[in-house]
Amino acid sequence: MTDLTRLSAAELAETLARKEASSVEATRAHLDRIAAVDGDVHAFLHVSSDDALATAADVDARRAAGEELHPLAGVPIAVKDVVVTKGLPSTAGSKILEGWIPPYDATLVEKIRAAGLPILGKTNMDEFAMGSSTEHSAFGNTHNPWDLDRIPGGSGGGSAAAVAAFEAPLAIGTDTGGSIRQPGAVTGTVGVKPTYGGVSRYGLIAMASSLDQAGPVTRTVLDSALLHELIGGHDPRDSTSIPEPLPPLVEAARQGALGDLSGLKVGVVTQLQGEGYQPGVLARFHESLELLTKAGAEVVEVSCPSFDYALAAYYLIMPAEASSNLAKFDGMRFGLRVEPTDGPVTAERVMAATRGAGFGDEVKRRVVLGTYALSAGYYDAYYGSAQKVRTLIQRDFDAAFAQADVLVSPTAPTTAFKLGEKLDDPLAMYLNDVATIPANLAGVPGISVPNGLSDDGLPVGFQILAPAKADDRLYRVGAALESALESTWGAPLLDSAPRLG
């Protein structure tokens, strides 16, 4: 019998639809795989076996009864722990939320449940999604399935590693500065950051409200499109949600896979290559450009001069919003509560003791940065200036998209680094997101497609960016590149990853 964990979500969905396997079998296969490899990978913070199997059994019963089901019904999924799930722990990788069981579901989780996808569990992440390596999780490191001594990217290292290690065919990530795309690049998986407002943020434990977006983490471009269509669309509970239907994404992915990109203009961003990028990363990038050209696309070079300031602006806006968003973690209503060991037990002192004990160093660093950036007398110089840079970046995008249908770059400047390598150097860590951050600042969508292995034998990613609300272009171009690459390789990239377990 086929190993159900090696199938893509689309293939598994078809297998289930043809009743060649049941959702219970598929779910159990993934739970078994988790049991076999997650001791090494540590992608999951919580595995919800009973819940997942119950959902699977329900889907099987409904399918047997001839009910019309969602195309992904019965296909298991992993959810990043920053997304609140009713009845399941949702810690966001932080001690401060340890033991908290949310009384409600995020909108995207409601959609996942309604469509009948068994939720396998919650995946590891940098605390409150702050990091690029998942090393800032309060609950231990996640290991890259390609090399267990290396980081799986971050903040969504758990979701990416789970998918890369065949523990789940689908996962949910969130991307504030690259937390879906960069882990995708370093684990050889596909990750999509939708247009800001394209997927409801209701129920995402916020880091930076104006930057956060949830999106799919999968092994194929088509799978991302399927999941994106499921979780996306307008949500009246999120004021920043786009009140329009999504463009047809699955159709775009299927179209793209046919391999014809004639008439398409691809813009290479001058500022997102060169210095700081590993030679192997750049080599794969240029090979991919050639494949796009062969598929009929025209490659042009575009300049986005303000991108040079993106990282600086990001590290003011993100911490500013985070400092305010994280104020609610105070031990008063939910989660950890720490009383001071000596002195009076006042609300103020309980808040301070709780936050002191509950937050990790990186979170404290960003809360302090953000508090400073917003304080009286500094607001204009820091937050105010950063917002102006943000506007300039948006204008750069507008100008670039006037010249090209999509923009492309390497997703991350390097392959996965060793665990611990950059832990003491926050700035080096932040630089990992240099290519992904501009999209968050402008609200435009982006995808990372695995495009080969670097000289060190580790995967690298190819980033495609599209104008806001034109997410379909990501899927068309991404699927075209994916199919061209796979015909060169003869097999999916992940087939060359170590078989764990």
Binding site: P102, P236, A327, K328
Partner: protein, 501 residues
Amino acid sequence: MTTTTPALVSYDDAVRRYDPVIGIEVHVELGTRTKMFCPAEQSFGAEPNTQTTPVSLGLPGALPVVNGTAVEYAIRIGLALNCQIAESCRFARKNYFYPDVPKNFQTSQYDEPIAYEGWLDVELEDGTVHRVEIERAHMEEDAGKNTHVGGSAGRIHGAEYSLVDYNRAGVPLVEIVTKPITGAGERAPEVARAYVQALRDIFRVLDVSEARMERGNVRADVNLSLRATPDSPLGTRTETKNVNSFRSVERAVRYEISRQAAILDAGETVIQETRHFHEEDGSTSPGRVKSDAEDYRYFPEPDLVPVAPSREWVEEIRATLPELPQARRRRLHDEWGFADAEMRDVVNAGALDLIEATVAAGATPAAARKWWMGELARRAKQDEVELADLAITPAQIGELQRLVDSGRINDKIARQVLDGVLAGEGDPEAVVVARGLEVVSDDGPLLEAIDAALAAQPDIVEKVRGGNQGPVGAIIGAVMKATKGQADAKRVRELVLERIG
């Protein structure tokens, strides 16, 4: 902290030497069905923490959505106060840690209020009109309510623990801020009171709030400063918080004028601070000491899009504004033809609505005024209740007056009918019947009484027969006595003279 508190200066001396400047911030709780940013219901007196959602509890992942009705109410208030309505305005976060603020920031409007630059003409009891300039009216959410247990007088100091009720957290508020109110001179306390009262009346007419002071629906913060002359620069102000009755507003202003005058007389400087008002003796005392200036780190709320009321909508709201209290008073004054002093008395006695309703029930304005400002005012005073709280309705007064006008009862009997109605015996008609108070118009029993009276006083009959009609009153008196005053005296006289022939 120690502050020297020189003895108070007498009010008259204070206003002779200094020119008071007032500034008033009024918060009104809007009477919307649900809260400012979530669908939790809001109503007075519900069990603690039963009117909450993840949003109003500030749970991780929850997002605010602006209540459209609250925006409409805020626009109504803005228009009634002759304000400009912003074409687009944003919410901001006011960051501060306090257990009754679930997110540890209040979502409020900061530099972009929905309404700005208005005015309100305020009428004092003697008819003097003072124009109060409005700086802004903005939307915000209320905080929860703390109850301190175990300390003295419910204060936090010395309390064993505190309870928080989040039912009020997120209740929509509009805050109305005046520009400095100058030129009121010695009448500053009256102007302050009349302004708050005028606002309360407007809120009620607009139907945006129950506006019950005793429930805290309307709360005022009173700023006051003194300067040497109207040409001097503004002095240092104090802000007396939560002054929650009309009378208290007046007293707080009066007290601060005397207190600050004493400080200035002593050559000292007024400390800029917030102060508490004490109902018991009308004094104020220093509030929380602020070791360093509060820095609320305001920044635009990234979870909300700007509120942009279309001009069509604003004009639609303007066109459907009800008649405002002052315009209504002027109209009724004209319609009723009362003298200026009469009209002021009616307004000051709170009898305007009652008289209007009584007139609507069929009474003439003069008759309605006679009842409410005469007999009923006397009874209200005697029972120490408001006129409107008497157990009698304008419709019943209308009915009573109809009974008098039709001659079925006379004025004297009407008072007995009033007794019956107030005693809960039913409508006037029912009381008349039940108590048998109808004027005796059937001549039969009347003639019997007359004959008896004539027989009892033959000497008077003789005198009248002799042409002297003077003593006939004695006969009439006897008849009235015999009929317990229910006879029509005029008719009795006619019949007596007829009888004597």
